[in-house]
């Protein structure tokens, strides 16, 4: 399965979009995590958020998604977060008794994506044979891949990924890199918090410090 197989009518290119973060200040409880943070991304970009545990990588992702209100500064993701953002958090958002087919059909319906698009994405992540298995009976790595499939099927330009490669093996990381490359190729952008070195071409790095 190659990237070109996904470039069908279900996957038109995204209109040009910018994600800008200006003079951002974030805190968790009483602890100030960052100040005067700036970030500029446009279509096709990817950025790694790196930093020690507790540096605020997840909080920054949550602020971009609109879950956390920043102390100061502005975040512009080109419209409402509901229309532009696709989210992968610490957990994959799967229900143990639901099969991947049921879950992904539901998420396709929520995002207006055709459910015909499910199988190619699963094949690209090499979990096509697991489509009728309940999520509770998948391994951690397989669940992560299923979470990535949901992110792709949401069909939104901005992907916010929190440790996307955490439980993935070498093969899974290669699948993830292919999926990200395909997404950037159609004009999407990716913000990923990670501790691992991921091989994504021309990705920027933003270091968050205490």
């Amino acid at each position: 399965m190659t990237e070109s197989a996904l470039l069908s009518d279900d996957w038109p290119e995204f209109p040009p979009l910018d994600l800008t973060v200006r003079d951002l200040a974030l805190s968790r409880g009483e602890v100030r995590l960052c100040e005067a943070l700036e970030l500029d991304l446009s279509s096709g970009d990817a950025v790694f958020l790196v930093g020690a545990n507790g540096a605020g990588k997840t909080t920054l992702l949550r602020a971009i998604a609109g879950f956390v209100r920043p102390d100061a500064g502005e975040i512009d993701c080109g419209g409402h977060a509901e229309d532009t953002v696709s989210w992968l958090g610490h957990s994959d958002g799967l229900k143990p008794n639901e099969t991947l087919r049921q879950a992904l059909r539901f998420w396709c319906r929520q995002s207006g994506q055709s459910s015909k698009a499910i199988m190619p994405v699963l094949k690209m992540l090499e979990i096509g044979h697991l489509i009728d298995r309940p999520a509770g009976r998948l391994s951690r790595g397989q669940q992560r891949r299923a979470g990535m499939a949901r992110v792709a099927l949401a069909n939104r330009p901005i992907w916010l990924l929190d440790e996307p490669a955490g439980p993935l093996d070498g093969d899974g990381r290669a699948c993830l890199a292919r999926l990200v490359a395909w997404h950037r190729g159609r004009g999407g952008m990716v913000v990923a918090a990670t501790h691992q070195t991921l091989d994504w071409p021309s990705a920027k790095t933003l270091e968050l410090g205490r």
Partner: protein, 223 residues
């Protein structure tokens, strides 16, 4: 619109498959109404007199018993974040979610309530009013329980918090739902129907207001 329909059916399906569907609340309801006569005594007149009230209390407790699961799992497995990013308003999502779960888990209560009221000695018309009162009270009861469940999601001993928050708010529904059956028992059908309509009104009011509270609790949980 079709997105909300699919949310409703997903929530109903998850409640059905994951939580044993209607089994939990139904068993609880049955236990209440079968243990009642054993504790209170077998006199026909007494049982007839307490039937509408006992059915309403049993329904209230069954709804509460299922409330803790409603949002705790969504917080733990990351579904809450994903629901917040669905392009529909969060109060609407909360309303559809709670009613979807209620439809899957509580549908049996009005039926058993009607049959139970007949076994307590009410005639069919009176029993039907009692069952209908449960049916129209259930949306209000489950939304109030959902509000308490959303506020206490992920909190240790959330069950205690749910009882403390939900029970005072459920008092008007309980009074009207039991009142409809009691009026029917007194032979005052006009007053019974009026009380039934008042129960409807409370339910509709709850459907209009609590989703905003549930959505605010969900947002607070995200932040």
């Amino acid at each position: 619109m079709s997105a909300l329909v699919s949310l409703f059916s997903r929530e109903a399906r998850l409640a059905w498959a994951g939580g044993g569907g209607a089994a939990g609340p139904t068993a609880f309801f049955l236990a209440c109404i079968t243990l009642g006569p054993l504790a209170i005594g077998p006199e026909d007149a007494t049982l007839r007199a307490i039937a509408p009230g006992l059915m309403a209390i049993a329904a209230l407790l069954s709804v509460l018993q299922a409330a803790e699961r409603l949002f705790t799992e969504d917080v733990a497995d990351g579904t809450l974040e994903l629901y917040a990013l669905i392009p529909a308003s969060l109060p609407l999502i909360a309303l559809v979610k709670v009613l979807g779960q209620a439809a899957a888990t509580l549908w049996a209560l009005p039926l058993i309530g009607t049959l139970g009221a007949m076994m307590y000695g009410l005639d069919p018309a009176q029993a039907l009013i009692t069952g209908l009162a449960l049916l129209v009270a259930i949306p209000a009861l489950s939304l109030i329980a959902g509000f308490a469940g959303a506020l206490s999601a992920g909190v240790k001993r959330g069950g205690l918090l749910i009882s403390l928050i939900a029970i005072p708010l459920m008092v008007p529904v309980l009074v009207f739902a039991a009142g409809a059956g009691r009026a029917a028992l007194d032979g005052e059908m006009d007053r019974a129907v009026a009380t039934l309509l008042l129960t409807c009104a409370v339910s509709l009011g709850t459907m209009a207001l609590t989703p905003f509270g549930i959505a605010a609790a969900m947002r607070a949980r995200l932040g």
